[in-house]
């Protein structure tokens, strides 16, 4: 009796799983064809062909080229530096922005949220060119500061520099950084903040002990969502980075599109992918330490 029942259960589960697989088959198929397929091709290319060594078979030379060339290492450091700084700037801006949206703005909450989302709809190229007009030698910021007499000569470092890339990237990813944090703050019962007030906390204690731990899941999502794409960014560094803001994304683009060296370009892409994976893993571990499960 028991055995039969169990067998039936097993069969039931089997049937359910089969049906689930059936439902999932088409999206998984689409992903395999459109996403994993090209990546597999690139993976093969990265181990196979190099325009410099002219070998046809299996080779690690593409990877060794990327990992040993000092100029690539410098570019890698620039990439990590710019991505990390932009991430930091974004968190510094996104956390207060999300806080004000949720707890302080009242009726303005939805309009400003909408503006934030709309700002991302602007063509990225147009946005970057707008920043060039703001940051350039003759740009609005420099001419404004000069006319005020704050500075004597325009600041050249504003454009075609790491700073320029950090500013532009931070500004363009801000909606992606803000919305996950906004969502996690939105889930906080406002009476928790009143309770913290009531029990004697000033704003710093309230922020550190209540808001930050409760927003941790959102911050984790933000880091995953923003930090990883930053590593492969190429449009902003190409347009406002100059030579010092040159990032790995630009190197890949140059290898593939300008030099036609698919092997090195693919190898670089895969190294970037591994790096992103490591970042995601670290973020995931940190997120779990923050007791994600205890909150939700």
């Amino acid at each position: 009796m028991m055995r039969r029942k169990r067998a039936e259960e097993r069969e039931g589960i089997g049937r359910g799983a089969r049906r689930a697989l059936l439902y999932l088959a088409s999206p998984v198929g689409v992903l395999l064809v459109l996403f994993v397929g090209p990546m597999a091709v690139l993976l093969i290319v990265s181990f196979e062909y190099s325009s410099f060594t002219r070998t046809g078979g299996f080779t690690l030379s593409n990877y060794s080229t990327v990992l040993t060339d000092a100029s690539y290492l410098r570019v890698a450091w620039t990439t990590i530096f710019v991505a990390t700084m932009s991430m930091g700037v974004m968190l510094l801006a996104a956390i207060p922005l999300a806080y004000f949206l949720v707890f302080r703005l009242g009726k303005l909450e939805l309009p400003i949220l909408l503006l934030l989302v709309l700002s991302d709809e602007l063509n990225p190229l147009i946005r970057i060119y707008a920043w060039r007009m703001l940051l350039g030698r003759e740009g609005l910021i420099n001419s404004f500061l000069t006319s005020l007499g704050v500075i004597e000569h325009p600041i050249d470092a504003l454009l075609f520099s790491k700073i320029a890339v950090i500013i532009v990237l931070s500004a363009s990813f801000i909606p992606y950084a803000t919305i996950p944090i906004y969502a996690s703050l939105k889930a906080i019962d406002p009476s928790l903040l009143e309770a913290a007030d009531d029990l004697g906390s000033r704003w710093l204690a309230k922020f550190r002990k209540i808001l930050l731990p409760l927003a941790a899941p959102g911050i984790f999502v933000t880091v995953i969502l923003v930090y990883i794409p930053l590593f492969s960014e190429f449009a902003a560094p190409a347009l406002v980075g100059g030579t010092s803001g040159y990032m790995l994304g630009n190197a890949v683009q140059e290898q593939v599109l300008e030099l036609g060296d698919w092997g090195v370009g693919s190898a670089m892409s895969f190294l970037l992918l591994v790096l992103s994976g490591v970042v995601a893993l670290i973020g995931y571990k940190l997120g779990r330490i923050r007791r994600l499960e205890a909150i939700t």
Partner: protein, 395 residues
């Protein structure tokens, strides 16, 4: 402000002529009361009566539009919540979900920068008070509603406030647990000796626990007194209708003596009643307030000269230890009568004529203030209907 139990004489809380307006709406209207040391003080009223706003002004979450609040003799105007020697138990408990029970309770003492040892001590004392020591490592979501409620109480008490503010703390619990917690709250209050200001819409809760009650209605305090005073001599029709199922008979004062009043009843009969704390003169429009348990019902006409009224029995409800009758007098006035099981009417009495009688010492004459809405609190059914719609919670 720390540990201010013995710092000053006089009331712990003084609320003087406090008004709070939100735009055009007057939520609290010239409210005045004191809360004494170790007193259990309740703000009782239907939702929207201003009781929660009053409590939030004590906590510092809202600022009075007019009037002043004194905490331990000091003006609290401009003192932010985190610097007030008050602590609040929130309606939804507001426990920090990412902290354990012990960490939740330690939150307040830690903010006061007490030594680690002192914090530990306060946490264990608070846990003992609420009898939940064994659950100190749990997270709030792992606790039942009643346990969460007690942790919220412990967290507020661990700060050793001069006044504990409670905003409908039992509202979310089921009836049985609520009754248990009433005794528990009263025990804890006696044990810690801290003044409690307790907001509720549940008159039973307020009556059970309070030393004094302020009954609020439309932003004003309608009656401030002990549960007994409020029950036996309600200051207004609203209070009479809100507290229990008072029988309210329209009447006219006919004769006034230093001890007794004679009133004319709607059926033309006359009755005697005791004096309340009001001015009386012949011709005064009033209502006779009699509690259901002070009325007796019989099918025989009473003897001449006794205080009685001819009625028709409308309905009977078996309550176990007692029977409740709904009777209708002249002009459709309805009264509840609570009768011991032994003194019940013969079966089949609904629909029959009967007489209600009362002891004049138990009947109280409340003058009808001019301009009060006609019919307000008149019939028990009307009052009941209002109570049931009002008891659905105060935001």
């Amino acid at each position: 402000m720390e540990g201010g139990g013995t710092m000053s004489e006089g009331p712990v809380v003084r609320v003087v002529e406090v008004t709070k307006r939100f735009g055009d709406i007057t939520a609290v209207d010239r409210v005045t009361f004191d809360v004494g040391r170790s007193e259990f003080f309740s703000l009782l009223g239907p939702s929207g009566c201003g009781k929660t706003t009053t409590l939030r002004m004590l906590a510092g979450f809202e600022r009075p539009t007019e009037g002043s609040i004194l905490l331990e003799g000091e003006d609290a105007a401009g003192v932010p919540p985190y610097r007030r020697n008050t602590n609040m138990v929130f309606q939804n408990y507001a426990l920090f979900p990412h902290l354990t029970v012990a960490q939740n309770i330690a939150f307040g003492p830690e903010r006061k920068r007490l030594s680690r040892k002192e914090v530990q001590e306060r946490v264990s004392v608070a846990l003992e008070t609420i009898r939940l020591t064994e659950l100190s490592a749990r997270y709030p979501k792992e606790l039942s509603g009643g346990q969460q409620q007690r942790v919220a109480l412990a967290r507020a008490l661990a700060n050793r406030p001069a006044v504990l503010l409670l905003d409908e703390p039992l509202g979310a619990l089921d009836l049985k647990l609520r009754e248990e917690m009433q005794f528990e709250l009263k025990r804890i209050q006696r044990e810690v000796g801290i003044s409690f200001v307790y907001v509720t819409h549940d008159q039973g809760e307020a009556m059970t626990m309070s030393d004094r009650i302020a009954v609020m209605h439309a932003g004003r305090v309608e009656h401030l007194g002990t549960p007994e005073e409020i029950y036996l001599q309600p200051a207004s029709l609203f209070v009479a209708g809100f507290i229990g199922k008072a029988g309210l008979l329209p009447c006219t004062v006919e004769d006034v003596t230093p001890t007794r009043l004679t009133v004319g009843l709607p059926d033309g009969g006359r009755a005697e009643a005791s004096r309340g704390p009001h001015e009386y003169r012949p011709g005064l429009e009033a209502v006779l307030v009699v509690r259901p348990e002070h009325l007796s019902l019989s099918l025989e006409p009473p003897g001449a000269g006794s205080s009685s009224l001819a009625v028709r029995v409308v309905d009977e409800v078996f309550l176990g230890a007692a029977i409740r009758y709904l009777v209708e007098g002249p002009d459709g006035v309805q009264l509840w009568v609570l009768t011991a099981y032994e003194a019940r009417l013969p079966a089949g009495s609904p629909g029959r004529s009967a007489w209600v009688r009362w002891d004049p010492a138990r009947a109280y004459v409340l003058p009808v203030e001019r301009g009060s809405a006609p019919g307000e609190g008149e019939a028990p059914e009307a009052a009941n209907g209002r109570l049931s719609t009002l008891s659905s919670g105060d935001a």
